[in-house]
């Protein structure tokens, strides 16, 4: 049984930037996501990938989304780290803990992401790569059953991106990932849905062989 079922056939999802516009942003997109699967939505900027993520998580109203096993606890990693600048890194993470969650897990979580000793610092002391890792720590602290990643590796240097990739791969939580970077998508996803057109539809589906991820990246570049 799938964990998530998306079927936007028959629903018009307008662009958030042009509310009321006649032309819908998303077309009849339909796909399933199995438990433990990492699915990537790959497409050009502005094609509605983030809108689709928000729709799936219920952050914008819409229809065509079903969670056959019940809605899991979700956590996001946004393109911008979106840390509260007036709270320390540890406090930012603590805010995402589920009710009754133990703050004591935070130092180990930070350590695992290479941020040991940075818990007491304010986010403006962190580089973008560190802030992005802190945002991942926050998402993981929420004990998610489903991850939503919006360009999590965008504009990171190679070593930061690799460190993040490893952390995300190790957890292997069911994940919906959005990116326009073929390398990121190929490195993380089990299956890639290539989006395009206007309104946006799924143009192609690529199943990624974990032993030959570079081939998936080449296919996406092509």
């Amino acid at each position: 049984m799938s964990l998530l079922r998306v079927d936007l056939s028959g629903y018009a999802i307008p662009s958030p930037a042009s509310a009321g516009a006649m032309q819908p942003l998303l077309g009849p997109i339909a796909f399933d996501l199995a438990p433990g699967e990492v699915v990537a939505l790959f497409g050009p900027s502005g094609c509605g990938k983030t809108t689709l993520l928000k729709l799936i998580d219920g952050l914008i109203p819409g229809a065509g989304i079903a969670w056959p096993k019940g809605k899991p606890r979700t956590a996001w990693v946004f393109q911008e780290p979106s840390l509260l600048p007036w709270r320390s890194v540890a406090d930012n993470i603590a805010l995402a803990l589920p009710q009754g969650g133990d703050r004591a897990i935070i130092p180990a979580l930070l350590e695992s992401l290479g941020l040991g000793g940075w818990g007491g610092s304010f986010p403006n002391r962190l580089s973008l790569g560190m802030a992005r890792r802190a945002a991942v720590a926050r998402a993981l602290a929420a004990s998610p059953e489903f991850l939503l990643l919006d360009e999590p590796l965008a504009s990171l240097d190679a070593s930061s991106a690799e460190a993040l990739r490893q952390v995300l791969q190790k957890r292997h939580l069911p994940t919906l990932l959005v990116s326009h970077d073929p390398a990121d998508v190929a490195a993380l996803a089990d299956r890639v849905l290539v989006l395009g057109g206007s309104p946006t539809v799924i143009r192609d589906t690529i199943v990624v062989d974990p032993t030959q991820r570079h081939r998936a990246a080449q296919l996406l570049i092509g």
Partner: protein, 255 residues
């Protein structure tokens, strides 16, 4: 007290500046040699007299009580109204013209009308003073609410923060500069308007005392009360507002 180099220098500059003002005042009073401009020594003597008799504490105390009540009323009421207007566009469309009207209403008109409609009472004076400041507080907080970072708002919703957590940890810190601005300008405006309300309709307070001194052409008395009150306001600024501001802005200084 351990003062850092920069802080110590700032304090010294302030003291020197105030001393310079005192010297200029003294020179002006000696040169003019007029009843209308008593020197700092005469005013200090008068201040001492008022303190010794207990009159200063009584009048200053009641004025400060009115300032505090009106300040709290205007800050709380104006903040709630401003946040609501910033949050809900339809509400703003209805009340925007009211706000523009009230913010431009002369303080004197509001005070006089409050005394006529509510009687020459303590609550009428406090309400009138609060109403003078409330619209500008609401306007400031409305702008603050409009400027809230939508990305942080989205994050709060994505992580299912409750309404109180969202307000306390996400919205309130962003609104704090606006609240501080409203507090600063509020304090400055309210204590001036309180004096007018006291002159017009109260039988105690610094405003009332200034009115009595005016009747008696007692300029030293007027200056004694004015200086005492200004010192209290400066004290509030230095001991309360500035340390609070430094504390909540420490994350900015960390970069």
């Amino acid at each position: 007290m351990n003062l850092g180099g920069a802080a110590g220098e700032r304090l010294l500059s302030r003291i020197v500046s105030l001393c310079l003002l005192g010297v200029l005042w003294h020179v002006a009073s000696v040169v003019t040699h007029s009843r209308t401009l008593p020197g700092p020594v005469a005013v200090a003597a008068r201040l001492q007299e008022e303190i010794a008799s207990g009159a200063m504490a009584h009048h200053l105390g009641i004025t400060l009580f009115r300032v505090a009540c009106a300040f709290l009323l205007s800050l709380v009421g104006g903040s709630i109204l401003g946040i609501a207007l910033g949050r809900w566009g339809r509400l703003d469309a209805v009340f925007d013209s009211w706000l523009i009207g009230f913010v431009n209403l002369p303080a004197l008109v509001i005070i006089v009308l409050a005394y006529i409609w509510l009687g020459m009472t303590e609550s009428a004076a406090i309400i009138a003073v609060a109403l003078n400041k409330l619209p500008s507080t609401a306007i400031l907080l409305r702008e603050g609410t409009r400027a809230l970072d939508p990305q942080l708002n989205l994050m709060a919703r994505a992580f299912r923060f409750g309404p109180w957590t969202s307000f306390r940890h996400v919205a309130l810190p962003q609104l704090t500069p606006y609240l501080l601005g409203a507090s600063r300008s509020g304090l400055a405006l309210i204590w001036k308007v309180v004096l007018v309300a006291e002159i017009l309709g109260r039988s105690d307070g610094v405003g009332f005392q200034i009115e009595v001194c005016f009747q008696l052409f007692d300029v030293a008395g007027i200056l004694a009360y004015t200086i005492a009150f200004a010192l209290v306001v400066l004290g509030l600024e230095w001991l309360l507002l500035q340390p609070f501001e430094r504390r909540i802005n420490r994350w900015r200084l960390a970069s």
